[in-house]
Symmetry: C2
Subunit: 105 residues, 2 copies
Amino acid sequence: MQVTDLNTTNIFDAKAMRKFLVHDSAWFRIINFNIPAGQTFPVHSHDLDGQLSIQILAGEGFFLGADQAEIPARQGEILVCDIREPHGVKATTDIRILVTIAPPL
Amino acid sequence: MQVTDLNTTNIFDAKAMRKFLVHDSAWFRIINFNIPAGQTFPVHSHDLDGQLSIQILAGEGFFLGADQAEIPARQGEILVCDIREPHGVKATTDIRILVTIAPPL
């Protein structure tokens, strides 16, 4: 058993996204990204089987998808998509996300 | 892409745990459980490969493990363990958890 307190990774850099690895195994990878207001986790995808979730821990912004799609995102919302589907996040306010990727890339 | 707003499942039954399935696929299952104050998600395990995470969305209580282990748990903490390891949650206050199981049982 491993317990991580996400309150300890509530750390922002106004100039760049911060990344905190929570867990990595053969089964899934869990990462907390903190994206400062105005910045974007660019849309990307990988040609691999599997799915990922993106949970908004705090803040407001948009889930990004293919064809410039923008879906409003706020604390408590969780997106699930295939690893192959384009996905990203745009931060309106400072935004914290928890990403779970299964299986890990 | 599928977006779920966990704010819409903030529903408690004082007598019993509530379960809301967020996602289920060959890759992972994501479930929100709402456990009323004083109740326990009993310790259990399954003889299967894989791991799971238990994230405290709101509230306070304890992660439960083998040999009557009790680890204090509060909003923002996330436990990761093997599906084979005994795990459970005890609610001191009303507690909301998000469980991700990879691969699903």
